[in-house]
Symmetry: C2
Subunit: 458 residues, 2 copies
């Protein structure tokens, strides 16, 4: 229960219209995109500037109240779910694009700006903000930074951390710090920016971000290529990279995913097609035809079954259809899925898929794999099927073990949140975990900021 | 004076051939490329594995001995100069390339590998390690990571931190931690890698690095363009970027630099030429001619005086001649130079140069500017001339003030070291400085690892 005095102080600070403690309002702040993790807070505050954020943190520290920051709520690992109650700090009023510095390829934004809105703004001046997770329409920049979001362009453009040049952060104890700068080359002091990127709101609350943008590519080309097996597709990927061409996007669907989509939307997959690559290159218009040709040749050398090239925007939408229909299509196989988000060094994707096949066989489950081939990021869906029994949780642990064996990571772009906390030790050894804990304790000695996330209990 | 017991324990650990305490040997470990900062250590140790590094740190902690790690000694800000005595830890035995994982575009190296050797190794398999500071022939990877080195390709490819995927680090108190991974998408725990990159060996000793490499560009094209003023050149740079073309290299020489080089090597500069851009694009051969054409058009629209294109490797060397002759040429103007390495957001380079001109005028000094236009990095040489009087140090402070006014950084790619420690407050505010100090103290409570660097005394 929140202390009445604490509540009154928050109301004095923010006014009654920017905080609420009524139980019926709490439902809206109890979840993210992961249906299994829910927890209601006892209050919600909606600050509109960094000073208020700092004051709230000081009050939380005075009254020992957990604080969970919240962006768009579109995460998959419960990062914004207030698992220890306390208050949720909704960052939606931090919704301004503060500066678009076209000449310097920099934008300065508040964390509550929706990613797609930022993308649209910079697009209007011929620039591009590359991180492009599936949730762009509702995810916020702050959430993307907190989770170090990836998306479909990471193969060429990298992930969110590659675009964060500086941050303004309110520390758990209320101090306001500024990291980084507008400069590409900057070695003034320690690089603190990256420590906050991907820390899932456990080390500080982002109140401003200096982001890098890039010139908008003049043109792009979209292709799909199908192969009998994912091994064949993997050979094609190696062959593509060997040409020196760096696709912006390199997505894949495995056989199960492909069959599910074919069943759902009949887009024309043949029974012998066991893997699909969706490839996009972007850059100077002049260069792209040659790149497409190189990709086609590479695919042909590796036994491509069908190679399609988009000739128009309409064609492109058509080629993306299979990838976009996937989530929906998988619901036809089963309504209950255990999802995972892992990454391996890209050349080990086939080995990982083989291991997943073995796990599926061993536990009599269905595993559908798809995701971002170009950066080694596999999204794994596991199910016992529509009328299957309870899911064998041992299979999930076997997936983790397989990831580690291939030098992969148990979390690629969806965070650790509260969902994977107990598995972190698979990737992080004890001395390193200890160091991470010491950083957390240094910044948040009472452990009040987004408790229960990222770090397992020591 | 080192304790005899400490010396004996080091000799027991490493053998007498891998440590020395004789004063005459100490000269070799007393300097870097900055002629003004020298300080002799009292001993030198040369470990060959991480366990030895850890043991040395534990001994240093037991006997309160400062430890200064040393790579190639090619830094410019005294980062490896043992200003508080103690022992130097030479990392030259960590000289193995441990793994070249071609399919995954990853190399794993020890910190003592010379950057150029690594570049040559990956070049042989058609890949490229992009960071390319002028000191590649002797600088080591460890030093490059410690200083977050930049170089001539940063305009397109970024700096060292963009290529460090993971590190093995011995902490000041002897624990061994492992950060990052081989995976592009990796959100398993806090990102500690970047905290160590650019920390100049003050937070830990790097014993292994996982580095990213990229496909080697199929081809490149080299051009030079001269303009009457740097303002005109700046307009051309904006016009080039507006075409969407992203040069890999975009170097500049200002009027003083240009005149000095012309005087030294008579490469054909005309009196009316007051600025030179050296531009390289790389990528798919097919695309480059069109890119060169766009660049040429952009330059022509901005009043280019002479535009030269290299038609051969020999031509290329010729175009690079002016840039390469610069250091030598400046010696003809004066033997004593006060150098600086700063960066500003790229579009503010002309404003910065104007401020530098004013400073030169005010103090009756000569200021020569050159460097990496494409990433806003200006190398500034200041002198009172061959028979000039003592250098007015106030001019240096005015440079710092000008940098800050333009939202630039007082250190771009040469580190803070011990040379700029007292100026760091110009870029880092007190709460942030305080946080940096707390991190340093957490990791190095006795302040024994590379003392006197990066952080000013609190």
């Amino acid at each position: 229960m929140l202390h009445q005095e604490f509540i009154h102080k928050l109301e004095d600070l923010l006014g009654k219209d920017r905080c609420t403690f009524s139980p019926e309002d709490m439902v809206a702040y109890s979840y993210d995109a992961n249906p299994e993790k829910r927890a209601q807070p006892e209050g919600m505050v909606s600050p509109k500037n960094k000073e208020e954020v700092a004051e709230i943190m000081k009050l939380a520290y005075a009254y020992d109240v957990p604080v969970t920051p919240r962006g768009g709520g579109s995460g998959y690992t419960g990062g914004c779910v207030p698992v220890q109650g306390g208050i949720v700090m909704a960052m939606d009023r931090f919704n301004r694009i503060l500066e678009i510095d076209r000449d310097n390829f920099i934008v300065i934004v508040e964390p509550g700006v929706v990613v797609q809105d930022l993308q649209a703004e910079v697009d209007r001046i011929g620039q591009m903000y590359p991180p492009d997770p599936a949730s762009v329409a509702f995810a916020t920049i702050g959430g993307n930074i907190a989770e170090n979001a990836g998306g479909i362009r990471a193969a060429k453009y990298g992930v969110t951390k590659h675009y964060v040049m500086g941050l303004e952060v309110v520390l758990p104890t209320g101090e306001i710090v500024r990291t980084g700068s507008k400069c590409v080359k900057d070695v003034a002091g320690y690089n603190l920016t990256e420590l906050f990127v991907g820390s899932e709101g456990t080390l500080g609350i982002i109140t401003k971000a200096v982001l890098k943008v890039v010139p908008k590519p003049e043109a792009r080309r979209t292709m799909t290529a199908t192969f009998s097996t994912l091994e064949k597709a993997a050979e094609a990927v190696s062959a593509i990279y060997a040409t020196g061409v760096r696709p912006a996007t390199l997505e894949f669907l495995d056989r199960i995913s492909l069959e599910a989509v074919e069943k759902a939307i009949a887009f024309g997959a043949k029974p012998e097609e066991g893997a699909l690559l969706l490839i996009e290159v972007d850059g100077s218009d002049h260069a792209l035809d040659a790149e497409v040709e190189k990709i086609q040749t590479a695919c042909e050398q590796c036994g491509v079954i069908t190679f399609r090239k988009a000739q128009s925007d309409e064609d492109r939408e058509d080629l993306w259809k299979a990838r976009r229909a996937l989530s929906f299509a998988l619901c036809e196989i089963a309504t209950e899925w255990e999802d995972d988000d892992i990454s391996v060094p890209i050349a080990r994707i086939p080995a990982m898929i083989r291991k997943l096949d073995q796990i599926a066989e061993r536990h009599h489950i269905i595993i559908a794999n798809f995701g971002h081939y170009g950066d080694g990021n596999i999204h794994i869906g596991m199910t016992t099927g529509k009328n299957g029994g309870p899911f064998p949780m041992k299979a999930k642990q076997e997936v983790v073990a397989a990831v580690v064996e291939l030098e992969g990571r148990i979390a690629a772009e969806h965070g650790i949140g509260c969902v994977k906390v107990e598995n972190l030790h698979w990737n992080i050894d004890e001395p390193t975990m200890n160091l991470m804990r010491r950083f957390k304790t240094l910044l948040d000695p009472k452990g009040l900021l987004n408790p229960g996330k990222v770090m397992p209990k020591g």
